[in-house]
Symmetry: C2
Subunit: 305 residues, 2 copies
């Protein structure tokens, strides 16, 4: 049996007239009769009573109708599902991100826009450190990740720079002057609190480089894996830290932020996905984030008010 038989059967069942049903299906009456006959032979029962006025359903025909009437719509629905999935409008997107990305207004806005544009995509969000993100991408657990770029990232990953933001100084309120910016070198004797290098290579290295560029080797203080813990340590006057400007969103009691005077070191936020095997959903997500990035570029200017 083929779908053709079902379509023809449904047409006859609806018209109760072979000639009209044939016209509706765009074929002649003889082939329609033939196909219905073939169907009846295959099922093994007469599905229509042929009466002078046309045709009427037998009991078997009624039972058959009841079961198959939804089939064409079901198939059509399947086609649409496939097409939607093909356009990346349905499915799942496993997104990984570095801890310092979640506070970006750009990032939260992007997620919100994506959910509105692709409401049927199941989005899973996972926070991990750089190594975890890269591994996740490589073994397929993640489709796309937002992270701090590093030169050692594998070649198999396609990366796009979304935006750059300056590092700013986070220091205990008690240490700060009223100036909105300060020279890094004034903190040369204070401990520098950072995330461990293996958790966030880029941020760690950039912070150190900034100090060296300012002409001193920093005193490494305590470390903590979470950016929030870093802030707590600064609030406890265990030292100062260098963090992406967007971290100013974190309003931690006892911590103030100051721009680095002079040329502030910039740290990027990039998006990465596998070069091969990227799903259409992934590409849709990437496209949306890249389109949105310029809108936020102005907001990442150095802090000078």
């Amino acid at each position: 049996m083929e779908l053709r038989h079902i379509r023809y059967f449904l047409a006859v069942a609806e018209e109760l007239n072979f000639t009209r049903a044939a016209a509706r299906m765009g074929i002649g009456q003889p082939p329609l009769s033939q196909q219905i006959k073939d169907l009846e032979n295959e099922v093994g029962v007469k599905l229509f009573h042929r009466i002078p006025q046309g045709a009427e359903l037998t009991e078997a025909g009624q039972a058959f109708l009841e079961k198959v009437k939804g089939v064409p719509d079901l198939v059509q629905d399947a086609v649409q599902s496939a097409q939607r999935a093909g356009r990346g409008e349905t499915g799942t997107l496993n997104l990984g991100m570095t801890g310092t990305a979640a506070l970006q207004p750009y990032f939260t806005d992007a997620i919100r826009r994506f959910r509105r544009s692709f409401p049927d995509v199941e989005l899973t969000l996972e926070e991990a450190n750089s190594v975890g993100l890269i591994n996740g991408l490589m073994d397929g657990r993640l489709d796309v990740a937002i992270l701090r770029p590093n030169a050692t990232d594998p070649e198999e990953l396609q990366k796009y720079q979304l935006l750059e933001e300056p590092l700013v100084i986070a220091l205990p309120e008690a240490w700060a002057s009223s100036d909105s910016s300060m020279a890094l070198v004034t903190l040369r004797d204070a401990p520098l609190v950072l995330t461990p290098r293996k958790v966030g290579i880029t941020l760690h290295d950039e912070a150190l480089r900034a100090c060296r560029d300012a002409g001193f080797e920093p005193v490494i203080g305590q470390s903590a894996p979470q950016i929030a813990s870093i802030m707590s340590m600064v609030a406890a006057e265990l030292g100062f830290s260098l963090v992406p400007a967007s971290m100013q969103q974190l309003q931690v009691q006892g911590v103030v932020f100051r721009a680095i005077s002079g040329e502030a070191p910039l740290i990027g936020l990039t998006l990465a996905h596998r070069r091969i095997g990227a799903s259409r959903i992934t590409l849709n997500f990437v496209q949306l984030l890249r389109q949105l990035a310029p809108t936020y570029a102005s907001q990442v200017e150095p802090l000078e008010k």
Copy 2:
């Protein structure tokens, strides 16, 4: 699109290998590739990634699979439903019966057996008088009826005599002797309580004829449309009645039954259905009742103990 495409798609989706899927479908690999290609063109998306080890589903393919995987079973189910309906195992049977049939052990047993043999047939039971039953059959409201036969029944109806039972005398307990049978003529001066003629022609006429055969013209007493009401009247000593032997099932206080001595008049119970347009279910029902009838023939002997 045809069911063939869906079947082939499902085979490849399961085997994840064109060659094996083709073998399973009993065709060569090239035509299978061709059909899948046609399907992909029609849907408008690639459904499989062709990889060196075989094939794997794309996201669109997964979505499509999810929707169509039940289709072949659905169609198979439809075929079976039609076949079962064709064999008269499903559907509805509208059964009408005369009021005096419901008490027949034969009848209740037949209904029970039918329900066991055809549990998926929806059986509707309707009690009506002879005229109502005949009309119901003729206008299609009833498929089959169990009634008292009458010579004026339409030719379009096929009738089968199921069994015959003698008429017995129902009389007030106070009037009865201890004999198990009595001559009808001894009641020549008592009123005869009957259903109105238009409600039950056959029973009415047979009762009158029995009296005339016994040599007297009965005194017609009150009438009531329901057999139960007749019994109440007899219990109230308003007269006697002549009823089918199976009515003895009705244990009415104050009413006793006596066989008619000599040759008792017989009254038949027949089954009727339309000669044309009888459903397979109807025929199954008729066959079952006719098979069962001889079993009960012995139980309708005259009352002589």
